[in-house]
Symmetry: C3
Subunit: 385 residues, 3 copies
């Protein structure tokens, strides 16, 4: 009755996943410090005695990724990094991406402190096993706004310039969604109303003069309302991330007033931890709200994937759960995210089937929905070509 | 050691429950959309592909309620609704209510968008199996205040008129408690102090002019303090509900300052999820605070009842936990709530007994307390006749 | 695969723990009401029918402490208290303290409503079995500030007098850390910036005139910044405690802005419940942040220790977890805390080893780190003699 084997596992094992939110992978072998930094939402902290290879994500890499590099399970960091370098980035990427058995990727292309593969190259590496894969693009709106300002604009032209740039960005082929990292900039304790043109102009005065990060509360609100006007699904970072987050300000229920105002928009709540229950509540009571646990899965690792999903699904209708790896840079996280999702969701569902609490056809349907079909409904991929 | 069978289960199976917070059941067979709406804190969303029958509560209905309608487990929605209509409301209500083995109900009569049974009719249906059942009444204070205003009152007469009406309402035979849905109206981030008469009059000016919902923060505070004066236990909705809740404002620990001021009152925290740990903390440190997980049990379903109770009981003294179904309209939730409570609590306690972490006599005592005795102490039913 | 036995358990059973945060034990047998009060973060509430012996901590005492007093498991309160009195405080203290197999204690000496052992006497009782134990001291800064004011100081001399007194306090032999109970005084929703001298003087005006508790937000901030200047690790109460806490204000992520400003300081987050996930996030993203679940372990009891640790460790690097009993007054909690920690952590790690999710050498290393080595790194005991 622990749900560790059975037909739901078998079904998810062969189901090609849709990874509705991820980033590219590194095109070159990273330096050791870079790789360790990418393993954690903290940093590498060299000389501290605190190794990302000991944290849950690092333990999972040594356990589940080492064998794909022909290494023994639980291998040490030095050996892991040595072998990774020996194989080279292209081969490493190919191994993890094909192992992930993901045939659709939605790639956030707006955050690139490291040189990453473009969406097409990511799909090519993932489809190298012969099954084929396709990548769509997600436009990060903060990057669009910051590029507009970097290009030079007057305060009273900001709103229109940003809107035009965003419309142009989403008209490009293969774009299926927009994304906001408002969570990082202000959090969600915002006035939900659409700001007036005068408010936007006033707020744009400093932003257009100084440039840098879009972090003014009025401009963040304006960005969210611009997203509404664009009409595409809106991916929203919620919950944890690096230490630039103020975790108490990114509980997604802080968005409730705004959600009441934007019934025509599809917000997709990303990551959510430790607010996965709160996100599930929103998905249960707002028709248009969807969620994933994204980033959480590889950070807590396969050992806690089921526990987090159990909480996320206490209220969430099974039509509302999506899969994402949120993998950034290191190809390992494509494989780990997919593994943790498949195993965590399969254990949850299979245990319910084994206890006769859920019918097997329902379980199989819910697994297919979460692994692929829900994303297809939300993003309407066939319309985007 | 998983606690799935044993004497605690047997004891709870035969224990007649006291359901200290519920509503009536529908007197007629609902339309299909209505039934689906009542299954969820969201809505039916017809044509969306999102069915309440797929959410955890709907899965539990198809699993645990279908057999009581002579249907196979995990039956589909159409068949379920067809059979439900065929049997008719009276027979459906009788089956689920008698199966719930609940002999005392405290009925919140103040929320009736649907035609529901009065308390006596609810008790009659539940006692139809021969065992007998009795129903008491809980007075929802917002409804009293809104009726007072609807009947016409001057701003400076509001406080006295509300107090008189509330006193009259609780003097009626069978009334054992009052209830507030302040959670829905303002949340709990309120000034804890009793408002002055002048403040109440000022705040009542708009309410008495416009009517509608009592939602002014001063009037919500005044209502809570009126509840204190009435001297009966005060049921407080906390935690999740429909999308009219702002979940981040209904963490019951926001009430801490107020709890320090009202030591003579017995607040009973309802539902609590996802703040069941926070509610348990309050029950542990304030003598007068009690709690249930109410509504949570049928929404998360029997598969998660134990997990939620485990968290609720991390700190809660076993004298402080009550049982409620919070069933509204659909008779299924009386049965599901009772089933989830009996099973969840029994598994929790039995597993501890099996691991020799808890003595069996203690476990049996805690089960009886939570299932019935604690409510008898709180509401002093024998005084209410 | 449930992890209940195996080499991690064996290793933790023989590992001498470092209890990095605790208080003294009662030097005399307490009155029955006093003992019951000390069992709970609530109170004894005599005559209420609510017994601390029924709460999780009380159940654990009757289960796990009774045998050390030669009583049967699950014994009743009267028999327990009778036997405890019969043995006398010294013998009771010796039995529980030696059973805890703890060889290093860091003792917060700043909170003494009851007559407690000094650190040396605590260590002597713990080392009575022959193994030897050593006690270090933690200086509670609020007590230092309040003593300065009680001794008489002008408002414009407060900052300097407090700083001098704190510096003198931490220069004493054996002092390894400072502690703040800011959580109790204001919570963490504070301006993170260091207050100016003028602000401190203005705020000190009332405090120096009236004395009593340091609870002014400016003075609490000043205290935290004084702690930064002292250069020792700073223990911070976070999460639950008695009803003087406002739980919604002690989520440690409210400290994020301040943590960005104090990179040279080592904050050690104590207790954390129900924010153990939030605390783990901070430990994962700030190099200098450490945590324990302290007080939580004996209050939720061994039955929930693993569950709480599982959440705490979802993100926490294993270099960041410390052990503390936070035992106050009753010697039982030294034993219970150690038991719950050893069992909870061992089950968590062993289950992962058994499932081949974690290598055994890693598991043994993480256990030693959390049980003793991490505290040695943080507090640099050898420097303190």
């Amino acid at each position: 009755m622990d749900g560790r084997t059975g037909p739901v596992h078998e079904a998810l094992a062969t189901l090609a996943l849709t990874d509705h939110h991820c980033h590219g992978v590194l095109t070159d072998t990273p330096g050791d410090g870079d790789f360790e930094s990418l393993l954690t939402e903290g940093e590498a902290w060299p000389g501290s005695g605190i190794s990302p290879f000991d944290a849950p994500a690092g333990v999972a890499v040594r356990r589940h990724c080492a064998p794909l590099l022909d290494l023994p399970r639980h291998v040490g960091p030095e050996e892991y990094l040595r072998r990774r370098g020996e194989l080279g980035a292209a081969e490493v990427n190919r191994r993890f991406l094909t192992a992930a058995r993901t045939d659709v990727f939605c790639v956030d292309t707006g955050f690139a402190p490291y040189p990453l593969t473009a969406p097409a190259a990511l799909a090519a590496a993932a489809g190298a096993g012969g099954a084929g894969a396709v990548a769509y693009e997600v436009v990060r709106l903060e990057s669009v706004a910051e590029a507009v300002v970097a290009g030079g604009v007057e305060p009273d032209g900001y709103a229109e310039a940003f809107r035009s740039a965003a419309e142009a960005a989403v008209r490009r082929p293969g774009v299926v969604a927009v994304k906001s990292v408002a969570a990082y900039r202000t959090g969600f304790d915002l006035d939900p109303a659409r700001p007036t043109a005068a408010e936007v102009t006033a707020a744009a005065r400093r932003f257009t003069a100084d440039g840098g990060r879009l972090a003014d509360p009025v401009l963040v609100r304006h960005l969210l309302w611009t997203a509404v006007d664009l009409g595409l699904p809106l991916q929203l970072h919620t919950g944890f991330g690096d230490n630039d987050i103020r975790l108490h300000r990114v509980d997604p229920t802080l968005l409730t007033d705004w959600l009441h105002l934007v019934a025509g928009t599809i917000p997709v709540l990303l990551h959510c931890w430790p607010y996965q229950r709160q996100a599930g509540y929103l998905a249960a009571v707002f028709e248009q709200v969807y969620l994933d646990v994204g980033l959480t899965l590889h950070h807590v690792g396969p050992v806690r994937a089921r526990a987090v999903l159990e909480e996320a699904l206490e209220l969430t209708p099974p039509r509302k759960l999506l899969y994402s790896s949120d993998a950034y840079g290191v190809a390992e996280f494509y494989w780990l995210g997919a593994l943790a999702f498949r195993r965590g969701l399969a254990e949850l569902l299979q245990a319910r089937v084994d206890a006769d609490e859920l019918g097997l056809p329902d379980a199989l349907r819910f697994a297919r929905w979460a692994g692929a079909d829900n994303a297809r409904r939300v993003y309407r991929f066939s319309d985007s070509h």
